[in-house]
């Protein structure tokens, strides 16, 4: 955990120091390719894993429950913030 966050902070520091270099502004494409590679590797480890392949339905259901809960939790919290902090200020946002 600390290695990962440490590496990211190292990146932030270096990125800030060298922010004038044009190359750094084109990182988004390179980040996307790295993500593709990682998801491809994750796919390989999932595909070779028979337990996962045989239980995709169960895993999908658990995933759906967590997704639904998270979304509902945040829209309820959004309603509270909207109702008490935004509606009154609506005119001056």
């Amino acid at each position: 955990m600390f290695i990962i966050i440490g590496i990211m902070f190292g990146g932030i520091g270096i990125g800030y120091l060298f922010r004038k270099i044009a190359f750094l502004q084109k990182l988004n494409a390179s980040i996307s390719y790295t993500i593709y590679l990682l998801l491809f590797l994750l796919g390989i480890s999932v595909g070779t894993n028979e337990t996962i392949m045989n239980n995709l339905g169960t895993l999908g259901l658990e995933a759906f429950l967590i997704a639904l809960a998270g979304t509902l939790g945040s829209v309820v919290a959004a309603w509270v913030v909207y109702r008490f902090f935004f509606k009154r200020k609506e005119s001056n946002i």
Partner: protein, 208 residues
């Protein structure tokens, strides 16, 4: 949406390749995924640090605008903790780690698979990583499809909080359409902050 299809495509391609068992097992035992992950995190850091808009964004923060990403984070985490009571197979912290992906499925699934390996073992960590990938893709889909309903019943901030880390890119068009153009700035600001929170929350809950 196109971006998510490409990512899912690469994942499915990997699944099929793994499933056919064409790859030599010596290649699979090499754990170079973790180095690719380090490389990814370094690039994420570089892009944050070199972002010319970073100062602009930091200086435009108004206290009451921070309440929007806070609502997303607090609401998601409470609900993820509650839903873990229904899912007996995974601990509360596992569900919190999955929920705190906030629809940022690529990064959260990779982080969980790698970071949970030490405590759960390769097999179970890969299962939780797969759940994280699916759960956070589902969340993006729910946010895209549910936006009009959320506005109607929970107010104009609801589609933004539902979208989690995606409200600065993939769900922005839907939010603009159903919440109004004046919400675009809040939506982008919210997306950036929630996006930045993912590399902190996911490793944090994985370590508990």
């Amino acid at each position: 949406m196109k971006g998510s299809l490409i990512i899912v495509g690469f994942f499915v391609l990997g699944c099929l390749l793994g499933w056919t068992k064409l790859l030599p097992s010596s290649l699979l035992e090499q754990n170079f995924t973790v180095y690719v992950l380090y490389f990814l995190m370094f690039q994420v850091g570089l892009s944050i640090g070199s972002d010319k808009k970073l100062k602009e964004i930091l200086s435009s923060i108004r206290p009451h605008l921070l309440l929007v990403p806070m609502a997303t984070i607090v609401g998601t985490l409470i609900a993820s903790a509650l839903v873990s009571l229904l899912i007996s197979r995974w601990s509360m912290y596992d569900c919190l780690a999955v929920g705190s992906g906030f629809a940022y499925y690529s990064l959260s699934s990779i982080l969980i698979t790698e970071l949970k390996e030490a405590s759960l073992g390769v097999q179970v960590a890969a299962e939780l990583g797969t759940i994280a990938l699916m759960a956070n893709i589902f969340r993006e889909i729910i946010a895209l499809l549910g936006a009009p309903l959320f506005v109607k019943y929970f107010g104009r901030l609801a589609p933004i909080c539902a979208g989690g880390a995606t409200t600065m890119d993939t769900t922005l068009p839907v939010i603009t359409r159903y919440c109004g153009k004046d919400m675009v700035f809040i939506s982008i600001f919210h997306g950036i902050l929630v996006d930045l929170s993912v590399p902190f929350f996911v490793p944090f809950f994985c370590s508990l």
